[in-house]
Structures are given as structure tokens and as C-alpha cells.
């Protein structure tokens, strides 16, 4: 079962390239034939000569980023992009969502759909579609939203996962908040699940966990690729009966996004360390899970600086009051464990008060209207991932993104109140009404997540 990826804009193309790199090198590691072939089938298509060609369509409104990704993939010698699987124009979208959505998207619709159709037809069976993009710029956000609409139109029964990179809070693009608000509001109606990485968070991982002194976008993209790869590589799920799941996106969606108001997913991966330290470290599942659980509750994305004071409400009684300033309530959680001795890892109910608290199924972590057994899913795969002997990834539908989202909407609203930059959007075809609609949708989402407590 294969996933077709659409890489949109500079960020989408850079992240996508890093992802395929990780997937390919992980798949070809060691002697794991079944895993290998399952992974390759999922992400690559093999030519008659034995070349691995990524199942991807690269889209950008200007050629530089795409050319870079294509040539770097070719240089790796291990995999490449399809020769004709890309589409670019000469002039970008100018960081303008309206330019991307109202002008470029429709103008190039046919060509893009053609490329997608070709890629989808190369798959024996389609597991779903994944669009990778940023929300700050013009192409990733605007054209990305339009393309997601097309995907929904042309493949109404397929699962669509959107991977979004949120920009640094202290500005990369001045109108990033407008672009983000417009994108998120539209995607909420179209996407099955929205998986988010924030540049700020990943940057901190690079500096504090990976000890990188001069952090480049390449470093940031590697971390994102590692976390995404940990989710997307083949895994044994509860339903897959001993073989690698044939429906990865479907299972992801059914575990996590059971309600249309709640689609925002965040990711945490443990451990993350410089490759030079890996040889000297040993990991135990109880320790990894204990840290991961606390990372979830206190809403930290790194195993450093975790606030161990934050605790879920004690006892069986769930009160509506806050138990601590930063307690993060979840709707659903998916734990993906990969590596040695994975079947010994305990994640369920807390049975013994003396053992470290690794109970993910503790009802106190969750909102009251979903039973904790349904809210937690665990996928255990004995195959190690990306050179880590043991690796645990937590995909969470929780309040983790509430604060950043609220921040983003607040800033966009402030700017909108003064009508700054609005003339730039209006001249490409959207109206102030469209802005207001988007703001309304997102306030609704914020309100829903707020009420999880």
C-alpha cells in the first residue's frame, strides 16, 4: 500500500527531500527484508533498472528549490525523483496566500492533477496522500491549500494527511500570520489530519539535544524528517495481525482524529541525540516511556527541561478545574515504539504503585468524553529505526498546539484590525469577508480545544 507525497513550496520540497532520504536509508539498513520491501513499496517505485524513484510530486512557483531537491536526491545515488514528476513556474507567489490560492492554483490545476494522477496510477494500491508544506509563505500555503482541495475533489475516498511547518514566532515572513490563518481555516474542512512541526521547537531540539552550534535549515529539516519517518515507516498495529499495516494513514486517522473539530496533531520523539553519542548510550523502555509521558502532560517537546511538577488530577474523580498551570489534556494518543525488546514495553494501566508511572491509559490524561482505552493506541515494531536501538514516537491530539495557535490568530487579528497589508490580498481576489470567515473558523477550533479540560 503506497503513499503519494506532494511537496509544495520551498519548505515542502526541502522537508520532503529530507524525509525520503531518511526513509530510504532506514529501509536499506541491515538485514530486514520484509520491513525493507514494505517500506520501499510504500514510498518508492522501482524501475526496471532497480532504481528507487520516490512516489512524489514536486510543486513550486519558482524553480530553485525544486532543482536543488532533485539534484541532491540524484547525487545520493540511492534514490531519486521521477524525471517528470515536478512542476514549477518562473515567478513565485510573493508570500501572498491569495496569489497562490486564487491565481496560481487554478491556473495550473490541470497540469498538477495530471502529475498526481500519473503518480497515483503507478501505485498498486493507494494508502493515501500526504501534502508537505509551510504555512508562512505564499506557495506552500496558498497553492498547497488549493491542491489539497483538488486532492479532495479527485480522490474523495482517500485519506489526506497534511504536514505543516509553522514558522519561527519572531517572524520569517511579515505576513506569515495571515497566510497561516487562511491556510489552517481552509485545511480544516479538507484534511483528515493536520500534523504540525514548529520551527521554534525543532530549533531548540537542534541546539539543546543535538548540540549543533550553527543551526541551518538542513539541520531543522533532518529532525523533522526523523520524526515523520518514525510515524510513517511500516509498523505492526493492533489490527494488522502480525504483518505491517496496509493502511497506515487510515489507521493513524482513526486512532487520532475521531472528531471533525479536533484535527491538530503534534509529535514528540524520544530519544534525540547527536549520532556521536549514540554508541555510548543505553536506553530502557520504562525510562523512555516515563519521559515521554511527562513530556505529553507538561507539553514539552524535548527530554530536557521537562517540568516534573505538572501532574494529572489525582484519583478517579475528574474535576473541571485546572490541576496545574501547564497540564496538557489529550483527546487521543498514538504511541509508536520501534526497536529492541519492544514487546516488553509497558504502556497500559498503572498496576503497581512502585513501578515508574508509564501509564498512558490513565484517564486523568484525557478528556472525559472518551474512554482511555479507546483514546490510546500502541504500535510496536521490533525493527529499530534510523540507527536508534530504541525509538518512541508519540503522536498526540491534545492541547499542545493550543497556545501557538492562539498566538498566531491573536497576532493576525491585531494586524487585521489595522487593515495592514490587506490591500495586497484583496488585489488577488479574496475579500475581507474571507478573512473574517477564516478567523471565525479558527476561533471555533481554539474554543473546542480549550474545552477539552
Amino acid at each position: 500500500m503506497s503513499i503519494v507525497t506532494v511537496q509544495l513550496g520551498q519548505c515542502g520540497n526541502q522537508v520532503g527531500h529530507a524525509l525520503f532520504d531518511v526513509l530510504c536509508s532506514d529501509a536499506q539498513e541491515g538485514q530486514r527484508k520484509v520491513f525493507s520491501s514494505s517500506s520501499c513499496e510504500r514510498f518508492f517505485h522501482q524501475t526496471a533498472h532497480g532504481d528507487l524513484v520516490a512516489r512524489a510530486v514536486l510543486i513550486d512557483m519558482e524553480p530553485k528549490a525544486i532543482n536543488q531537491s532533485i539534484s541532491r536526491a540524484a547525487k545520493s545515488g540511492k534514490w531519486r525523483y521521477g524525471e517528470t514528476s515536478h512542476f514549477s513556474q518562473k515567478q513565485g507567489s510573493g508570500n501572498n496566500w491569495a496569489n497562490g490560492y486564487c491565481v496560481h492554483g487554478p491556473r495550473h490545476r490541470e497540469r498538477v492533477e495530471e502529475l498526481l494522477r500519473r503518480e497515483v496510477e503507478r501505485c498498486d494500491r493507494l494508502a493515501g496522500l500526504m501534502a508537505i508544506m509551510s504555512v508562512a509563505g505564499g506557495t506552500g500555503s496558498g497553492v498547497g491549500t488549493y491542491v489539497t482541495e483538488c486532492l479532495r475533489d479527485v480522490y474523495p475516498k482517500s485519506f489526506i494527511l497534511n504536514h505543516l511547518t509553522w514558522p519561527y514566532r519572531t517572524g520569517e515572513v511579515i505576513v506569515q500570520n495571515y497566510n497561516s490563518v487562511l491556510t489552517l481555516a481552509h485545511l480544516y474542512q479538507l484534511s483528515d489530519a493536520i500534523l504540525v512541526h514548529e520551527n521554534d521547537t525543532v530549533h531548540r531540539i537542534c541546539s539543546q539535544l543535538l548540540n549543533i552550534k550553527q543551526i541551518s535549515f538542513g539541520d531543522v529539516n533532518s529532525v523533522i524528517a526523523h520524526q515523520l519517518g518514525g510515524i510513517l515507516q511500516p509498523a505492526l498495529t493492533a489490527d494488522s495481525c502480525g504483518v505491517y499495516s496496509r493502511n497506515p494513514l487510515g489507521e493513524l486517522v482513526s486512532c487520532l482524529t475521531c472528531h471533525p473539530e479536533y484535527k491538530l496533531l503534534s509529535v514528540s520523539t524520544i530519544p534525540q541525540m547527536p549520532s556521536s553519542s549514540m554508541a555510548y548510550s543505553t536506553f530502557s523502555w520504562p525510562s523512555l516511556l516515563k519521559h515521554l509521558r511527562q513530556m505529553l502532560i507538561s507539553n514539552t517537546k524535548m527530554e530536557e527541561g521537562i517540568d516534573w511538577q505538572v501532574r494529572p488530577p489525582a484519583g478517579a474523580e475528574r474535576t473541571r478545574t485546572l490541576t496545574g498551570p501547564s497540564f496538557n489534556t489529550s483527546l487521543a494518543n498514538l504511541l509508536i515504539l520501534r526497536g529492541k525488546d519492544v514487546y516488553s514495553a509497558e504502556t497500559g494501566q498503572r498496576t503497581d504503585l512502585r513501578t515508574p508511572n508509564v501509564a498512558f491509559e490513565d484517564p486523568a490524561l484525557f478528556t472525559s468524553w472518551l474512554s482511555s482505552e479507546d483514546a490510546v493506541n500502541v504500535w510496536k515494531t521490533p525493527v529499530p529505526f534510523n540507527k536508534y536501538e530504541k525509538c518512541a514516537t508519540l503522536v498526540s491530539n491534545s492541547q499542545a498546539l493550543l497556545r501557538p495557535l492562539d498566538n498566531m490568530v491573536g497576532k493576525a487579528w491585531n494586524m487585521f484590525a489595522s487593515r495592514a497589508y490587506i490591500h495586497q490580498y484583496l488585489k488577488f481576489g479574496i475579500s475581507e469577508e474571507d478573512f473574517l470567515d477564516s478567523f471565525t473558523s479558527l476561533e471555533q477550533v481554539i474554543s473546542s480545544y480549550n474545552q477539552l479540560r
Binding site: N96, G171, V173, F217, S447
Partner: protein, 471 residues
């Protein structure tokens, strides 16, 4: 990859333009070792097979045969253009790109804008159209002119550009006269021109002669200093034309080189690759929150490179310098006014963490308007300019341009009150007194718009109340 066309108007425009083409060639020669006509070169130059009498351009990827600048040169006096045609850059321009006349505009905006503007309208449009037809995907027109002299033709060209090519971005580099300008009527010319700039340009990069003079003097002082540790690499200074085609330096060359470098840096990310590209249309999008407030203060660093190797500390120094007064191309106090938006275009081996670190460091000392506290637009281009390992261009949309405009208005009013020299303008056909009053009122309302924003500085602005959702 997109192309840009440079339209250089008048004596000043053409002199600056000439330096631009020289330095552009130098920059590309430095990077393009294989002699292939690549896309980056294509953004400013056409590659022409001189045996082909049609002058048709050859495709990207072939060998460089004969480069022609994507430029249109206009001047109502032929002196400067003739000099260019006799100089080492003569091969870059063919006759279809030139438009000259003999007598000049006599430092009279009305003569340039009205008389010559109408007389030569068709020819100008024709040449512009030709230049744009040679382009695969024309993104931007760069107009270079001064405001003090007979700036009329420049502004006429600007309005023609808007009429004929409304979709193409118009970035205007305007040289503002200093108070001691030797052209008496420069305040009239400037204010009449400013109205056109406010109405028809997408972005204006104001440059003051005095600031250029100050920068030139500063560099000359450094090079004559002779102190150990302060020896500069002479070809790396922002005023140097060394390594270019032109031999000896002419009087205004040093100053004009600075403006030429400004244009090279602005277009660097559109021409070369990097980890965070910044195209020309993104500049207008991010830096212009309200249509008329499009005057961007440019700052260039470094001005020179020391001959010794530079540690990372220097990198942070470069960011600090960009916000210091010595590196601005107009005299103004941005730190005492309000930033509406700011763009940082970094070239060379600089990573995103360096950029973030410096933004965090400098932010507290820079007052930004309340609704744009994080008003930074950033770009990273991997290719540094010639002679440097990295460089930074800062473009700030800041209310500090208000005093400059107010001064201009005052100098205008001094003359206008007495009706001094007015008859020279009014006797030109098409010119009416109402144009004067409209121009000054346009300037006044521009100043007022900046003033309104300035008034919010330092005041606590509460957040706009959010939409409330029925639960």
C-alpha cells in the same frame, strides 16, 4: 528564474546605471567560471549571437557569446549616454535601447514630464516593450533617477510603466537632493516628482547624496589610516569598481558604486540560490502595509573587508552595523521613529541560527508598530558579493522618512510662497498651477499618514478584542 529590466533616466540615473552594469558583470564573472550563459546571468543580461542580424537571444545553458544588458537608457541630453557608448561598456547596449535628445530639460520637471514626456511617449513605450519582449518572465522594472534635476522624464516613464505593464513590479531608486543642492529649483522638482512616486511606484528606495558622501569619506579615512589591523582589501569596498571593465575611476563613481551595490544585493536572492529565498515580489508584499507608505530606507554592510581573516564576532557586528546610522543611505533616525516593517537580506555563509540570534538581540532596541511587533522578513542567499564572505542589506519601512519629507516640503514652500521661478514651469504646455497644489497636498497627506503611525509610538496599544464564539 525571472528577469528584470533597468531603466536609467537622466544624467544621474545613467551614471549610476553605468556603474551598476560594470559591477554586475564583475559579480557574475566572479561566480560564473564556466562561461556558460546561466539563469542567474539571464536575469539581467541577454546572450546574443552577433552573427544573427535579428539580435535574437540564445537559450540558457549555451556558451556566452555576446552579452547585452536588459536596460533602457533615456536622457534628454546626450553627453552622458555618449560617454557610455564610447566607454568599455559600449558593447552592452545597442541603439534600440537608447533614447536621447540634445538640449536637456533645463532642470525643469515640467519640461521633462510634459514636453518630452508627450513628444517621446511612443518611442519610450516602444523601447520598453522591446526590452520586455526579450524576457521570458519579466518580474520587475528598476527605475533609477534623481529627484533634484529635471526629474520629469523619470516620473513620466514611471507612469508609462504602470500604464503599459501594470502587473510588473516597479522599484524606483531615487536620489534625493541635499539641502545644499546647486539646483535652485530642486525643491519644486522633488515635490512634483514625489507625488508621482507615491501614486505609481510599488517601492521607492530613497538615497541621499550626502549619505553617500559620508560613506565614501569614511572608507577613504580607513584606507589612509595605515594602522596595522585596519588594512582594507581595496577591491572589497562597497565603493570600489576594481575588477570591473572601467579603468580609472571618475569623480562620482565611488558614490554611484554604493547605489549599484544596493541593487545587486536586492536582486541577489532572486538570482542565486539559498536556503531561504526572497524574491522581488516578496519585498513589496512584506514591506508595504499600506499602498502609499512604500518608502524603504536602505542600509548596506559591510562597507569593506579587512585584509585579515574575520571571526564570527564580526558577523554579529555586521547586523549591529546595519542598524547604525553610518550605513544608511539616507540621513534619518530609525531608532527614534517607528518601524512598520523590516527586511534583512543576508548573503554568504550565514545560517538561520545566526539570523535568529541577531534578531533576538537587536529587537529590544528597535521600536516596531504595535500590530507588527515581529515585522521581520528574512532571506538567506548562499552567494556572497565579490570580496566579502558575507553581507547584509537591510530595508526598513520606517517613519523616520517623515522629517526628510517635511524638510522637502519646507524648502518647497519657501520658494512657492514667493512664486520664485514659477513662470518657468507654468509656461510649459500642459502645466497648471493646480499641479503644484496637488503635489504639495499629496506630500502633506503622506506626511500625515506617517505622523498618525508615529503617534502610536511608545503608547500602549491594547490588543483588538477577539471574536467570541458561542459555546
Amino acid at each position: 528564474m525571472t528577469q528584470s529590466v533597468v531603466v536609467q533616466v537622466g544624467q544621474c540615473g545613467n551614471q549610476v546605471g553605468c556603474r551598476f552594469w560594470d559591477l554586475a558583470l564583475r559579480e557574475h564573472a566572479h561566480i560564473n567560471k564556466k562561461g556558460l550563459y546561466d539563469e542567474a546571468l539571464g536575469s539581467f543580461f541577454r546572450n546574443v549571437d552577433s552573427r544573427d542580424c535579428d539580435g535574437g537571444a540564445s537559450v540558457v545553458g549555451g556558451r556566452i557569446q555576446h552579452l547585452k544588458a536588459r536596460a533602457v537608457l533615456v536622457d534628454m541630453e546626450e553627453g552622458v549616454v555618449n560617454e557610455i557608448l564610447q566607454g568599455p561598456l559600449r558593447e552592452m547596449f545597442d541603439s534600440t535601447q537608447l533614447l536621447t535628445d540634445v538640449s536637456g530639460s533645463g532642470n525643469n520637471w515640467a519640461v521633462g514630464h510634459m514636453t518630452y514626456g508627450s513628444a517621446y511617449r511612443e518611442q519610450i513605450v516602444d523601447k520598453l516593450r522591446k526590452a520586455s519582449e526579450h524576457c521570458d518572465c519579466l518580474q520587475c522594472f528598476f527605475l533609477i533617477h534623481s529627484l533634484g534635476g529635471g526629474s520629469g522624464l523619470g516620473t513620466r516613464v514611471l507612469s508609462l510603466l504602470e500604464e503599459e505593464f501594470p502587473e510588473v513590479c516597479r522599484i524606483v531608486t531615487s536620489i534625493y537632493p541635499s539641502a545644499e543642492d546647486d539646483v535652485i529649483t530642486s525643491p519644486y522638482n522633488s515635490v512634483l516628482a514625489m507625488r508621482e512616486l507615491t501614486e505609481h511606484a510599488d517601492c521607492v528606495l530613497p538615497v541621499e547624496n550626502q549619505s553617500l558622501v559620508d560613506i565614501v569619506n569614511k572608507i577613504k579615512r580607513m584606507s589612509h589610516d595605515g594602522k596595522p589591523g585596519s588594512v582594507i582589501k581595496s577591491e572589497s569596498t562597497v565603493i570600489s569598481g576594481q575588477g570591473g571593465l572601467s579603468g580609472a575611476e571618475k569623480p562620482f563613481d565611488a558614490m554611484n558604486n554604493i547605489v549599484a551595490n544596493l541593487l545587486l544585493n536586492i536582486t541577489s536572492s532572486a538570482r542565486f540560490e539559498g536556503s531561504l529565498n526572497m524574491d522581488l515580489n516578496e519585498i513589496a508584499m512584506n514591506l508595504v502595509p499600506f499602498p502609499r507608505l512604500h518608502y524603504l530606507v536602505p542600509s548596506l554592510t559591510p562597507l569593506y573587508t579587512l585584509a585579515v581573516n574575520v571571526p564570527t564576532r564580526r558577523l554579529d557586528q555586521m547586523f549591529s552595523d546595519a542598524f547604525g546610522k553610518d550605513h544608511q543611505l539616507i540621513r534619518a533616525e530609525p531608532k527614534h521613529s517607528l518601524y512598520l516593517a523590516c527586511a534583512l537580506m543576508v548573503r554568504g555563509n550565514v545560517q538561520v541560527s545566526d539570523l535568529r540570534r541577531n534578531i533576538e538581540r537587536l529587537k529590544p532596541s528597535l521600536p516596531f508598530v504595535s500590530w507588527n511587533q515581529e515585522g521581520w522578513k528574512t532571506g538567506l542567499c548562499s552567494v556572497p558579493p565579490v570580496g566579502h564572505s558575507h553581507s547584509l542589506l537591510a530595508l526598513a519601512n520606517n517613519t523616520c522618512v517623515k522629517p526628510t519629507f517635511m524638510e522637502l516640503r519646507e524648502r518647497f514652500t519657501k520658494l512657492y510662497r514667493k512664486k520664485a521661478h514659477l513662470h518657468h514651469y507654468l509656461q510649459v504646455e500642459g502645466m497648471e498651477q493646480s499641479l503644484f497644489s496637488e503635489a504639495i497636498s499629496s506630500l502633506s497627506s503622506l506626511i500625515e499618514e506617517y505622523h498618525q503611525l508615529d503617534a502610536t509610538r511608545g503608547r500602549f496599544m491594547p490588543d483588538a478584542p477577539r471574536l467570541s464564539i458561542a459555546v
